[in-house]
Symmetry: C2
Subunit: 609 residues, 2 copies
């Protein structure tokens, strides 16, 4: 039972009650993902995204349906943002040398007397000075409790010092028993949030939590979220508080489950793409969306948690990994750090495909980045039965003639197909001759799963009786074209990046695949469709959630923080939107696996014999 | 018409309605200054501070009278905190070299393009870097408006840079027309507040405003205010907001009267005694009151105005002059700066007498300070008709046998006698033989003004018919003893300070007299009673409100700020409460002018011939 004002959209009403309905376009009536069934008083704008049959049985788009009185809403499974699979792993081998910018120092002070009557703060700074620690400073909240803590602990205390430029700030003071040094690494993805609780002394991850980025209700991708801020007066504030609340919810879980106080968390390092960083800090992202696509900043000086409303020690400093450009953000900087590619003599390529694709090429002697609008196909967008990697998503597919074998996340009845499933599906369709090199379904084939629908041919992956949604799950010619555009963008970007610097794929010793998408990818099948280059399989290395792993490395090490800043300072950015080579490469890459088939010798062998 | 809860004291009820009743003890029923007449329902504790006659006519102490129903309160003139005389002048000759830690720099930036697409912040820092300005940082509020301001002004802007440690922080950005650089110097006195609006380019004082420190209703002196915070749960918060509101009220007047925006004020420098600094920052001062008298801090790192709730540019940094000890505060540091004594080869003495007395001895090669509990006599406390320097206070007195000539502040009918008036009165009484060397009124003298009251002899300064309070204004034996204790404390402190370093008064080339009290002082008469040493008159120099002057010098000059910190670091503090020499000197100084009369050769000549 939710009470809202007349005229509120059903989407907004649900959001305001913490019920999350899927919406890729940000409530603009464009994507058709937020279908709900309504019984009661509702006013709705007309839309082509609903069939006559759907309209007849009371189906509406939640973003276009406005409350006009009492009503009951049924949210079908496929419209729900539900339990999910978020990549939280990030193997960092080796760990960096652990040298966070924080230390805890025990002080056994002589109590003041009529002869030794310096101020409490001077007594503490004198003791630190005697230990060789100079330029000590302190903020007001710590200063306010200083005298009490000193006396309660009979002048035997532990101080937490934060290394800031040329100063050492006392960010906390407590009893000597309070020895732990704890921080959080935070990955703010467009789709997901992950928070790791890290022991800054051992480098161990104590625990981690993840959730969807609840900003999805304001738009699936970064552009629709920027649009939301432009179209809603209160938009930036809403998106900023959504992201901060989201992080705080995860920190709360971590703190409660690990029987810890918030104040124990003395540092936070955050990575995210440039738009997420703008929205986290409450900065207006609008100029990113308009030519020449300029962000407010690439780097925000570290600042206290209290200024950002984070539920950690209010004096803890928050550092965000710097961004290179509007579309190569702090998440990519973190990927580079996590991969270690900037420390290697050999040349490697890093690919992070999410809603957007970002690529970095380089070695210890150079770095170059580019980004491509990969399109949302691999995240479930622009594909009718596409879905995010949630429970019930088909993630693995093998086709054997007319037989389709698949597995779903959570091993439950399928609700849709996620990114890795779509790549496998296209590869399998191609390998089985069900689609041709331009991705067209061969409707003349004798296959019970091939049908001709209103918008061209379609292939049934799972029949209605097998699914959780009481509908056939299928893929259409249109869907396949969208997937091919995405893979072509990624492959073409890789190629342009290499060619710009005079390299070819075979010069690479490593291809690092980052991001949640990469982790579930079947490399062979990704090569089959021409998403990844045709290289020996042991060259591909999954680095898992590099955005998180890089954030943790920076959390643990001052030199990694410096390295992150160097990476950004030294990275050449190639802007593909003004790059003529890109359009040629993109067009060539729209085929399966590619127009120039000799770029994929192993596929030639497997498919064309 | 004021509505309050039953049980509220009349003093609190008045305060909460911005009506200020005099109270020296902080509402503790001790000082008897808050007498009011009440008609109506009131419950009051018994007190010896009211005579039977006063009680009979409905007179109460406002701090002991609790509202029990409707009532009417009449506040007699002598209990009101009214129009006043606050020292705002401070002559600084010469002005320091003007080099504030702030600069404004005009930037004509090239607009971004698809080829030159760095972030807005990077564009600004690149331009600054090209001008040789490195390590540029920025806070969130400025960053939030950066992109809009750049575009509104077509990439032609002026930035305000604040010099912080090894960084340069962009604290504001605006149109190029916005060239002024404005700051405020603030003197937080125990009794008075003064704010000066200063042009940081020319060094000129644009305007200034002053008022009482409304904290007086919580106690006249620093000790009673500390006691208030100890006895009231919400005490620190109340005293802190009182002082901040007080400063903000004065800034508001300045801003409105000078047709300026708050945001124009880009820096604030504050001076005040150690307790005032604690209360300004919201720090608990209680350990200052208890042996061994330890302040929380002697120095607070400069911090943003927004953290302190000051009505200036929220990004402006606020700097407070450092304190030396619990009773030698930032006001004394400012006095030293304003006097220039720490830059001189010759040895000088600085005396600042307010509610407490602080003294500094030294030259460019050494500095030493001490403080003495001068007692509140010179501020109107502990003297029956004593009053602060407000309208109607007698400030000048000449006695010619039985004739008394006096002048009052504002030339109105007298209401009481302020500090300078009391010193002149005692000097005149002594010179005319009305009191003896121990300060006893010669009641056997044939003088119409001499009476014997319940607590000893008394001398009528102004008869009832001359006054504004319909009572004789007089001084008693007890009053004179209190005044003598105050002058003895100051003289003895001076002597101890000199002797500790092997000097005598005649080694001094200058005696600087600071503070509002000093400015109205008749030096000859102060020497006559033995408050000041018997030196050639041209050695005494009034520096006016040195606390304000020093704050302005620091506001205008980075090197003065450094000097302030050096002064504190290099100043030896002599703690008189554990100094055996002090007690001997104090006892000797209780006579007029002194036990050792040869210390006052000119007085011997004038009085004893």
């Amino acid at each position: 039972m939710v009470k809202v004002e007349r005229g509120t959209t059903v989407l907004d009403a649900a959001t305001s009650s913490d019920i999350y309905i899927d919406s890729i376009c940000g409530g603009r009536g464009k994507c058709g993902k937020c279908k709900v069934t309504i019984d009661g008083n509702v006013h709705a704008d007309t839309t082509d995204l609903l069939s006559a049959e759907e309209k007849a049985r009371g189906c509406y788009l939640a973003c276009l349906a406005r409350v006009a009185g009492n009503l009951t809403v049924i949210i079908p499974k496929e419209s729900r943002v539900e339990s999910h699979q978020i990549l939280m792993r990030s193997e960092i081998i080796p760990l960096p040398v652990i040298e966070p910018p924080l230390i805890k120092i025990s002080l056994l002070l002589s109590p003041p007397s009529l002869i030794d009557y310096m101020s409490d703060l001077d007594r503490v700074t004198r003791a630190l000075h005697n230990l060789g620690i100079k330029n000590v400073t302190i903020g007001l909240p710590t200063l306010k409790k200083l005298s009490r803590i000193l006396r309660e602990n009979e002048w035997n205390v532990i101080v937490t010092l934060m290394d800031l430029w040329d100063r050492q700030e006392i960010i906390d003071i407590g009893p000597v028993s309070d020895e732990d040094l704890i921080g959080v690494a935070v990955d703010i993805g467009t789709t997901t949030l992950v928070v790791e609780l890290v022991d800054l002394k051992s480098g161990a991850v104590i625990d981690s939590r993840s959730d969807y980025n609840k900003q999805v209700v304001y738009g699936e991708d970064v552009l629709s979220r920027i649009l939301y801020t432009e179209e809603h007066k209160d938009g930036i504030r809403k998106l900023t508080s959504t992201i901060r609340y989201g992080i705080n919810d995860l920190i709360r879980e971590l703190v409660i489950d690990n029987k810890m106080r918030y104040e124990k968390i003395c540092r936070a390092v955050i990575s995210g793409n440039t738009v997420m960083m703008h929205l986290f800090y409450g900065l207006d992202p609008k100029y990113i969306r308009h030519e020449p696509y300029i962000p407010v900043m690439s780097y925000v000086p570290q600042m206290k948690a209290v200024k950002l409303g984070l539920s950690v020690n209010p004096n803890a400093y928050v550092y965000a990994l710097p961004c290179r450009s509007s579309y190569v953000g702090g998440d990519v900087t973190a990927d580079v750090i996590a991969s270690g590619m900037s420390d290697r003599k050999e040349i490697s390529l890093l690919i992070d495909v999410g809603t957007n694709g970002e690529l970095v090429l380089g070695s210890e002697s150079f770095l170059a980045s580019c980004s491509c609008s990969a399109g949302p196909a691999f995240e479930g967008g622009e594909v009718e039965f596409g879905t995010r990697a949630m429970y019930g998503a088909i993630e693995r597919i093998w086709i054997d003639d007319a037989k389709v074998h698949y597995s779903t996340i959570g091993n439950v009845r399928p609700k849709g197909i996620c990114g890795s499933g779509l790549i496998e599906l296209v590869a399998e369709l191609f390998s089985n001759g069900i689609i041709d090199r331009v991705g067209k379904i061969q409707s003349d084939k004798n296959n019970i799963r091939i049908q001709v629908g209103s918008s061209g041919s379609q292939f049934i992956v799972a029949f209605k009786h097998e699914t959780a949604i009481n509908k056939d799950i299928m893929i259409t010619d249109v869907d396949i074209q969208n997937i091919l555009r995405t893979k072509a963008a990624v492959y073409a970007s890789s190629n342009v990046l290499l060619k710009t610097f005079g390299y070819k794929f075979t010069d690479l010793t490593d291809v690092f695949i980052a991001g949640s998408f990469g982790n579930y990818l079947d490399i062979k099948k990704a090569v089959t469709i021409g998403l990844l280059p045709d290289l020996p399989l042991d060259i591909f290395k999954f680095i898992g959630n590099g955005a998180l792993g890089g954030a943790r490395m920076v959390l643990l090490s001052k030199s990694m923080q410096n390295k992150a800043e160097e990476v950004v300072a030294n990275m050449t950015h190639i802007e593909l939107s003004v790059n003529s080579m890109f359009f040629k490469e993109f067009t060539s890459a729209l085929f399966i696996p590619h127009t120039e088939i000799d770029q994929f010798p192993s596929i030639v062998g497997r498919v064309y014999t």
